[in-house]
């Protein structure tokens, strides 16, 4: 009886100590939690924790597992694509229409929020954001829902896009001060992309940044006419990063529309397939860098713009790096967008080389055609949305990559609309690649069979990855050797997280529909 009372006391203490002070978000990286999609603002997905290291990782064992159930409308694969948050001993994990709170010490479910069945593409869900006592969740039909982190009860719900126009929503919002920054997805009906910032208390709109400029604005010259520009796509479906010192928000934008038909939108099509730097208080753009001018292959440039400081050609710099879906690795100076490096990380065949700004020059002969164009990479890309990681200890950028090919076709008659074409996938090999950011050259690659999982690096000298045979792997960050592996309930698609609780370091990763938590035996 006494024990029961004690357990209840502990449980209630856990339930009432969940607040996340947003001002603390700028002082993260202590390893005690995982309070944002990327763990901190930088997008490095690197933890300073080193209880688990290269020497003892072979003794890592399962601490607990938690299988999500009762999630209603099937998701595209019923797989956990979300990166969990872990704040004050509680994990928050999502699937489309669903949020679960789970005790981070033992995997017990604390509550389950389920929205009514929604329209909208249920392709996956990437996670929630947290501000104070509140969680922010994008539903497939693009409502931003505020939930009480203590019990999962809905506080308010605000529409951020319209599914009738084929928008759908999957991403984990980004909290900066009193801004909840939300992005949208959906490129099957030539709608414009945008980012919004909303008030955390009320959900009221604070600002909206549109991917396409308005007529007469800078960038409008990169479109042939108002019709193509106002239907130009450029979705914003993966969480960006933030530099508190520069007060700049960094975001990658998606491909232009119609997706595969470029003839009706001659020009660079700004600001699609770009990395943009915005002021998070106003939504005004400070600079941009377009990684795929005039894309016709569905190569969204939404991959995490990773922020780190380091030397470049002997000079200390504030850097931003992106391994982009088009197969090129880019390094920029994040203070002003100055281009520093472009290097391919797979064998690709669609570009004529680089221009003076380091941008790939698309080969017109490799645009989709009626009779088919063989292109590397496929529309799935040389990488995709899976989170990369950067380790300050090794100075290496790690990313899940794929050497693949597709035959790209143009389809349809009359005015091109929507995808206006399709590609026939040929191959899908995959590997983890360790890229030296100063040269763009691979230090090592590790075959994982197929492309699919996000990465995590730790100060223990490890990179956590997933292969396509349901294994989670711990690799030596220096040479890519496998030091430990375990079999999960399904393939990993999200990124693993790590945190310390009661002196014990946990690594938590989703495999299929199950969260797997690992820790050292005896800790």
């Amino acid at each position: 009886m006494k024990r029961l009372a004690y357990t209840l006391l502990l449980a209630s203490a856990a339930l009432f100590a969940q607040e996340l002070n947003p001002s603390l978000l700028t002082k993260l990286s202590k390893g005690s939690g995982w309070p944002t999609y990327n763990g901190d603002y930088s997008g490095k997905r690197h933890s300073p924790l080193k209880q688990i290291d290269t020497k003892n990782v072979s003794t890592l064992t399962t601490a607990w597992t938690y299988q999500v159930t009762n999630y209603g409308t099937p998701s595209f694969g019923n797989t956990l694509k979300a990166t969990p948050l872990m704040v004050n001993g509680v994990i928050y994990i999502t699937m489309p229409e669903n949020v679960w709170a789970v005790d981070a010490r033992n995997g017990r479910e604390l509550w389950h929020y389920k929205s009514p069945p929604t329209p909208g593409f249920h392709i996956g869900h990437r996670g929630v954001a947290m501000w104070g006592d509140w969680l922010y969740f994008e539903t497939p039909n693009c409502n931003l829902v505020a939930l009480n982190a203590k019990d999962g009860k809905e506080r308010w719900s605000k529409p951020i896009a319209d599914t009738k126009l084929e928008y759908f929503c999957t991403m984990s919002p980004l909290v900066i001060g009193n801004h909840i920054v939300t992005g949208v997805g959906g490129d099957s009906l030539d709608q414009p992309g945008y980012l919004q910032s909303r008030d955390p208390e009320t959900g009221a709109l604070q600002w909206q940044w549109n991917t396409e400029p308005k007529p007469g604005e800078p960038g409008s010259e990169s479109w042939p006419d108002v019709d193509s520009m106002s239907h130009g796509g450029g979705m914003t479906w993966i969480t960006g990063t933030y530099d508190p010192e520069l007060n700049l928000l960094y975001w990658g934008t998606g491909n232009p529309n119609p997706v595969h038909a470029g003839a009706g939108r001659k020009g660079d099509n700004l600001y699609t397939c770009s990395i943009v730097a915005l002021n998070p208080d106003t939504g005004k753009m400070a600079w941009y860098y377009q990684v795929s001018p005039h894309d016709t292959h569905d190569w969204d440039a939404i991959q995490t713009p990773v922020l780190f400081d380091g030397e470049f050609q002997g000079k200390p710099r504030k850097l931003l790096a992106q391994a982009s879906r088009n197969g090129y690795f880019f390094v920029l100076d994040r203070t002003n967008g100055e281009h520093l490096l472009t290097a391919p990380f797979i064998d690709l065949n669609w570009s004529l080389g680089l221009n003076a700004k380091g941008q790939p020059i698309p080969d017109p002969k490799k645009e989709p055609s009626r009779d088919g164009t063989l292109v590397a990479p496929s529309s799935n890309g040389a990488t995709n949305w899976f989170a990369p990681t950067y380790s300050p200890e090794t100075g290496i950028f790690y990313v899940t990559t794929s050497q693949n090919y597709s035959i790209f076709y143009l389809t349809g008659e009359g005015k091109a609309e929507g995808f206006a074409g399709r590609d026939d996938f040929l191959t899908f090999s995959g590997s983890v690649q360790a890229i030296d950011y100063q040269t763009g050259k691979a230090q090592w690659t590790h075959d994982i069979g197929g492309m699919g999982a996000g990465l995590l690096s730790t100060a223990g000298g490890l990179v956590f990855a997933g292969d396509s045979s349901k294994h989670v792997l711990a690799l030596d960050a220096r040479d890519g050797r496998t030091l430990w592996h375990a079999t999960m309930a399904g393939n990993q698609m999200n990124g693993a997280i790590t945190y310390e609780l009661d002196g014990k370091q946990y690594v938590v990763v989703g495999g299929g529909d199950t969260l797997h938590a690992y820790a050292l035996a005896g800790k």
Partner: protein
């Protein structure tokens, strides 16, 4: 011929690996279209709507409603948000005289609902890219293709136009033939969408354990840690312990090697040649 690369083995099982990644191997995935929430409208209503639309609206909006002198209706938020005339009804009946659109005041509720169904079907034809028809592939020169087949493409070192490839063009549509010609594996999206597909050619595997014990058979699965072999009907998984050697004969290795080499013109020419093998 045995080729000892892990990559080769994985590329054979890749279709299923990827299917497992996207879907769950124990649950057949639902077709993508049903996940968008969009329902196909009644075909008869669509046909009636088309017959109303073409003479009444097509002159300005184009016969396909994608715009002419009047706006593209399939990019109109009003049309996209319409349900059985809820949005478009008032506009059709009152017209937009300030923009030169006449009023169709006599249009009945039923006719407007039929127009709505026509717009919905036209929109779905855009949004459902897996329904897009790929055609117009036969642009190549069959003579050049035959030369490539027997020469630089090295196709003839494994295949014969009168042997395994005789009547190949009767078996596959051009789009499928072009893909299988490059890589004879099931279409990834077809696998994912649960369609019936021809399985890839089996790979032979030979495992030599550290003590010298040998197991040979058909490769079922290979990854970094295990190899699963069907040996005379019995399926066994082996750990890839240090010192064990796995040799996988990848039957499509020559196709994989072709992908970085073949030019689009050679691809079209070779397809044109294979199309003569009816």
């Amino acid at each position: 011929m045995f080729k000892a690369t892990l990559l080769a083995g994985i590329s054979c099982s890749l279709i299923y690996a990827q299917g497992d990644q996207l879907g769950r191997q124990d649950k057949k995935p639902a077709p993508i279209i049903s996940m968008t929430g969009a329902q196909a409208p009644d075909a008869a209503a669509v046909e009636r709507g088309k017959k109303i639309f073409e003479p009444a609206c097509g002159f300005c909006h184009g016969l396909d409603a994608r715009g002419k002198s009047g706006p593209d209706l399939l990019r109109s938020s009003l049309v996209l948000r319409d349900e059985n005339g809820s949005q478009i009804g008032a506009v059709i009946r009152a017209g937009r005289p300030e923009r030169g659109m006449p009023a169709f005041s006599g249009m009945t509720n039923e006719q407007i609902a039929d127009l709505s169904a026509f717009f919905k079907a036209s929109t779905l034809a855009i949004t459902n890219r897996f329904g897009y028809e790929i055609k117009g592939l036969l642009t190549g020169d069959a003579k050049q293709g035959e030369a490539y087949f027997n020469g630089a493409g090295k196709c003839a070192s494994c295949h014969s136009a009168t042997g395994d490839l005789s009547h190949i063009a009767s078996k596959y549509e051009p789009v499928e033939l072009q893909r299988r010609m490059l890589l004879p594996t099931p279409n990834m999206m077809d696998v994912f969408m649960g369609k019936k597909v021809k399985p890839p050619a089996p790979s032979k595997v030979k495992l030599t354990l550290p003590g010298g014990e040998v197991h040979s058979g058909i490769l079922v699965h290979a990854d970094e840690f295990t190899v699963t072999i069907n040996e005379n009907g019995a399926t066994t998984s082996f750990d890839r312990t240090p010192g064990s050697q796995v040799e996988i004969d990848n039957p499509i290795a020559a196709h994989e090697a072709l992908l970085p080499r073949i030019a689009d013109g050679q691809m079209h020419d070779t397809l044109a040649y294979l199309e003569t093998l009816k």
